[in-house]
């Protein structure tokens, strides 16, 4: 097929396996149907649809429910695989292999090559090594294929048995393509396996009668994977001395290891170029992973990286290899370190409207929202809606990071109406904001004068379980108390404030209680005052005393003004007495104003003047 010569870079998706087309048609009907279903922003995620009781409301619940669903499935699988004899009846016609128990136990006991292959297939590293040794001791020769498979196995797992719990899961992923283990980082991932000196891989490698490219490749890849970078390069030289050529995987591994074995940026780059030249000499065709490894290595080459990464992209184009998202991610990383943000625009124009298929473990939506560029954020979001690109966003943890940043950016940059539109769209079906996200929203409301939305937002805050975050509640209260609004809004604020108050009161028994702060109390009281809820406000004032908090002078002033409007000398007296009991410095002033403003009985007057004097004396 003659390629069109157009200025824009046309990527041809090369499908190596022809049968993928016929595979596709198996679910083409379902795909067409699925594309007609739009997301319902008011509904929870599909996986929670079965049981409304388990609809998550907070991110913690989301995590808990989705993980428990998954772990339930895994437990069932585990039981089936552990007790295959109880699950032999095959109901399905035609036969469905994935419903049948998998054989996890070793069946072949005798010492033979078949037993070795079985152990390799079941990924039992130690047992396989033992079997190999027994075979050698018995004097039987092992076929080169089997020994290479064994070497692959040992190098892949770094001469350790894979974690037992991990194993059924990992196999599920391959066969079903839907199980996922990376949701939470396990401790076992963090404990790095290191390449030990003279481990079984090296030992068996040395025992091999003839070492071919595949054996070297396995050894080098294993060494790179488990951090023996220098050793990997030594093995590579050894390999060249034996007049063997490396394969593309070996070079990929070596390129990714290159930054580890050199100190200076130029030296690193020289080594990489050297490797690439050797690749060319050995007629090894680079693949996408080669260039991604190259770009990833360039991230650690400092100032060299920028020019060279662009050259790399051009090289990819010349080779007809379409960059994956990981390539673009590396390029962005390189340029961002240097503070150049223009590159994002170019990358976005390049990727816009294309669908991506994951080809590299590093593939994933480049989280480029740290640029605080709302236009770019929209572009990324548009990209997310193209085809199956949403899958590239990764697991729910990464999704929450993405949506969190996006929402933060929206709150910062956009008009409140737009923010609320997105708020309805994203929350809570896709994203459960953290307290900081809600504060951003409150600030956005404040900036655009939409404080009347606060009671509604408060409901959401309660639903999302952020109502025990005292700083968030404080901020909400202070926003409500700060300005004067129309009576209706004040009324709704007062309802909201009373709700907050009830939370403070009932929370003491049940869960982590909110601690009354003076500002929170002051704010609630002034909201109640502004809504003409005198009785409740009065209750709040009394609460100050019981909670050992001191009201502010401004609050006393507000109280006095409110009492003045209703002309109630009795309350005024009481107010002054409360003020005196708090030893507020403004008490004399308050008393004086009450004396002037209200018609008081003689008795009250004397009390007031006493208060005036006594506090002055105490001062």
């Amino acid at each position: 097929i003659p390629k069109k010569k157009t200025s824009s870079y046309q990527f041809d998706i090369v499908t190596n396996n022809n049968h993928s087309c016929s595979d596709r048609s198996k679910w083409a009907v379902l795909q067409a149907l699925a594309s007609t279903v739009n997301r319902d922003p008011t509904a929870p995620h599909y996986m929670f649809q079965d049981d409304p009781y388990l609809t998550p409301r907070t991110s913690a619940e989301f995590k808990l429910y989705s993980l428990s669903q998954e772990s339930g499935r895994m437990a069932a699988n585990h039981i089936v695989n552990k007790n295959p004899k109880f699950f032999q009846k095959d109901f399905a016609e035609p036969h469905i292999p994935c419903l049948m128990p998998e054989t996890m136990e070793l069946c072949i006991e005798e010492v033979s090559e078949a037993a070795l292959l079985e152990r390799i297939m079941l990924r039992k590293v130690k047992a396989a090594v033992d079997m190999y040794d027994q075979l050698l001791q018995a004097g039987t020769t092992v076929s080169p294929d089997a020994s290479n498979d064994l070497l692959d196995l040992i190098c892949l797992y770094g001469d350790r048995d894979p974690v037992q719990d991990d194993k059924p899961e990992a196999e599920d992923v391959q066969e079903e393509g839907r199980r996922r283990k990376g949701r939470l980082r396990r401790a076992s991932d963090l404990v790095r396996i290191v390449w030990r000196e003279n481990n079984n891989a090296e030992r068996i490698f040395n025992l091999l009668p003839e070492r071919d490219t595949r054996a070297y490749s396995a050894l080098i890849r294993g060494m790179v994977k488990y951090g023996a970078h220098v050793k990997a390069f030594n093995t590579y030289t050894d390999m060249l001395n034996n007049r063997l050529t490396a394969d593309v995987h070996t070079f990929n591994a070596l390129i990714s290891a290159a930054p580890e074995v050199r100190e200076r940026y130029t030296e690193k780059w020289d080594l990489i170029v050297d490797l690439l030249n050797q690749m060319n000499e050995q007629k090894v065709k680079p693949n996408l992973l080669t260039f991604n490894a190259l770009l990833k290595a360039l991230r650690r080459c400092g100032s060299l990286a920028r020019a060279q990464s662009l050259h790399t992209l051009s090289e990819m184009k010349a080779m007809g290899i379409a960059p994956s998202l990981a390539s673009f991610d590396h390029v962005l990383g390189i340029f961002y370190k240097a503070g150049q943000t223009d590159i994002l625009q170019e990358v976005m124009t390049e990727v816009a409207g294309r669908t991506f298929v994951a080809q590299d473990p590093d593939d994933g939506m480049p989280v480029c929202l740290d640029t605080k560029d709302i236009e770019a954020a929209y572009k990324v979001h548009d990209l997310l809606r193209v085809g199956e690109n949403w899958r590239m966003l990764g697991d729910s943890f990464q999704q929450s990071i993405y949506y969190g940043r996006m929402f933060n950016l929206l709150c910062m940059m956009e008009h409140i109406d737009v923010v609320l539109k997105w708020y309805k769209e994203l929350i809570p079906s896709l994203y459960y904001p953290n307290p900081q996200g809600m504060r951003d929203l409150l600030q956005a409301l404040d900036t655009d004068n939409r404080l009347d939305m606060i009671p509604q937002i408060w409901k959401d805050i309660r639903r999302m379980g952020h109502d025990n975050k005292s700083d968030l509640v404080d901020e909400l209260l202070s926003l409500m108390a700060r300005d004067k609004h129309s009576p209706e809004i004040q009324e709704s604020f007062a309802v909201c404030a009373l709700d907050v108050k009830s939370l403070y009161e009932q929370g003491q028994g049940a869960r982590m209680a909110l601690e009354w702060t003076a500002t929170a109390m002051t704010n609630i009281t002034s909201v109640l005052l502004a809504a003409q809820k005198k009785q409740q406000a009065w209750d709040m004032l009394k609460l100050f005393k019981t909670k050992n908090r001191v009201p502010s002078e401004e609050l006393m002033e507000e109280f006095l003004a409110s009492i003045k409007s209703s002309n109630d000398p009795q309350h005024a007296m009481e107010l002054v007495q409360i003020s005196a009991s708090f030893c507020l410095p403004s008490t004399p002033k308050l008393a004086e104003r009450v004396l002037q403003a209200f018609e008081l009985s003689e008795e009250q007057k004397t009390i007031l003047s006493e208060l005036e004097v006594s506090t002055e004396v105490s001062e």
């Binding site: 679910w27 393509g177 010349a318 593939d363 404040d446």
Partner: protein
């Protein structure tokens, strides 16, 4: 003549001021302004102008003169003071631009302001507005003007408004300022809404679009009107207006000076204009179309000026792939046959595993879940096919299933009861949809074995005829 114009101007200013009171919401009661223009005889001559343009283009740009800025800032300070003290005050500002003792233009702006400021909190707002205002003034002389300062009134007005349009996005700026303010003093009352600034800009430009081609005397009334309209969009309107008018007059004065053949003075005027441009030089260093950091340190704004849009249109973004390449590999034209398709190694499986883990595999709706099940082989495939699960038989033609007599050719008697029985078996098998062809053959073979084993018995009974 001039008096008439002044009255007209006053009417206009009042009208715009009323609007601005409603829109901007800052308490300004009855802002009146009279602008006296004393002795600016300007006659525009298009031929002359061209001459000036060519001349000015050759002139080196003189040094910056700061006197002017200082004066205008002083004025602001006076105004502020008067507002906070709640007094009416008359302002008489005489601005003179002098160089080497030679007076070119003398403008006297007489401002009478009655401002009633109610809250002290508003002072802060006023200050910030002035700050914004300052930024607006920066746009008065876009870089173009440095090179071509001489333009007709209409042109310069359009320039001016065009330049102001650059900052139309300043709603963000207000927002940013507000954010800053709230974070600083959370307890203070909110300023009035300023949402409508953008629309007012549009209004002002709308007005500017229709000016009748008037003979330029001193300053055409349309021009003055448009200036005041533009100024009305700013919080401190009178000040902005006087600034704008002054700038216009400078343009005209250049023409006047040119006419007198006094070329040297152009330098002075240009110097003035440059001063007027950017008092604090904040935006100077920033190239167009770049993200820049706001002063409040919270967000970025993407500046989309007219020039930036132009730039974006003109220079098409260079592609990521247009640069040099490494020149290490030579792309081979013929696609290499992949040899390693045969058996995926453990490494390949591990890679596929990791790739699958890096993506989101959760189904979003029922259909996607059904796709998952189809991939796992748990579900019937769509479109529904009666022969699903019979893949092994897909290659077998139907006659193999139906015409089974050929299997009776060997090992069975040609005639007799056994043959008859087997014909019945074969016709039964031909109608059986459940057996594969292999099973059918095995079925027949079983009978063949059976009858051969029983051959003697059958021969005794004389039913095995061959």
């Amino acid at each position: 003549m001039v008096g008439e114009k002044v009255i007209e101007l006053q009417d206009y200013v009042k009208m715009v001021a009323e609007q601005s009171e409603q829109r901007v919401g800052v308490k300004m009661e009855g802002v009146t302004e009279s602008v006296k223009i004393e002795e600016i005889p300007v006659k525009m001559d298009s031929e002359k102008m061209e001459e000036i343009q060519t001349k000015t283009a050759l002139l080196p740009i003189p040094e910056v003169k700061l006197e002017d800025v200082k004066e205008s800032e002083e004025m602001k300070e006076i105004m502020l003071a008067s507002k906070t003290e709640e007094v009416k005050q008359k302002l008489e500002v005489t601005m003179a631009v002098v160089k080497e003792g030679e007076t070119i233009v003398e403008i006297q702006v007489k401002t009478e302001e009655v401002v009633d400021v109610k809250k002290e909190g508003d002072k802060v707002v006023e200050e910030q507005m002035l700050e914004v205002n300052k930024e607006e003034q920066q746009t008065e002389a876009p870089p173009k003007d440095e090179i071509q300062p001489v333009k007709s009134g209409k042109e310069s007005l359009l320039d001016l408004l065009g330049a102001m349009k650059v900052e139309v996005t300043n709603k963000r700026k207000f927002k940013a300022l507000k954010v800053q303010r709230t974070s600083e003093t959370a307890a203070r009352p909110m300023p009035a809404a300023m949402e409508s600034t953008t629309s007012m800009f549009q209004e002002a430009t709308g007005m500017a679009d229709v000016p009748a081609p008037a003979p330029s005397e001193t300053l055409s009334p349309e021009l003055v009107a448009a200036v005041s309209a533009a100024a009305a969009t700013l919080p401190s309107q009178s000040q902005a207006e006087s600034e704008l008018l002054k700038k216009l007059r400078q343009h005209e004065a250049i023409g006047e000076a040119q006419k007198n053949g006094d070329v040297n003075n152009i330098g002075v005027i240009i110097a003035d204009m440059k001063v007027g441009k950017k008092p604090n030089g904040r935006q100077n260093a920033r190239p167009a179309n770049q993200i820049r950091f706001d002063e409040d340190g919270r967000g970025y704004t993407h500046d989309r000026g007219i020039t930036a849009e132009l730039d974006g249109g003109l220079r098409r973004r260079r592609s990521l792939f247009s640069g040099k390449r490494l020149n290490i590999f030579t792309p081979s034209t013929e696609p290499e046959a992949d040899t390693d398709i045969a058996v995926p190694t453990l490494w390949d499986m591990e890679l596929a595993n990791q790739v699958a883990l890096s993506t989101n595999q959760m189904p979003r709706n029922g259909f996607e879940e059904m796709i998952q099940w189809t991939k796992e082989g748990r579900l019937w495939q769509y479109p529904i096919n009666n022969e699903a699960g019979l893949e092994a038989e897909a290659q077998v033609p139907f006659h193999e299933h139906v015409f089974l007599e050929k299997h009776l050719e060997e090992g069975f008697p040609r005639q007799g009861p056994v043959r008859h029985f087997m014909e019945l078996v074969v016709s039964g098998l031909a109608k059986n949809p459940y057996y594969t062809i292999q099973q059918k053959r095995e079925h027949i073979a079983w009978f063949r074995d059976y009858f051969q084993q029983k051959e003697e018995v059958l021969k005794e009974a004389e039913v095995y005829l061959n």
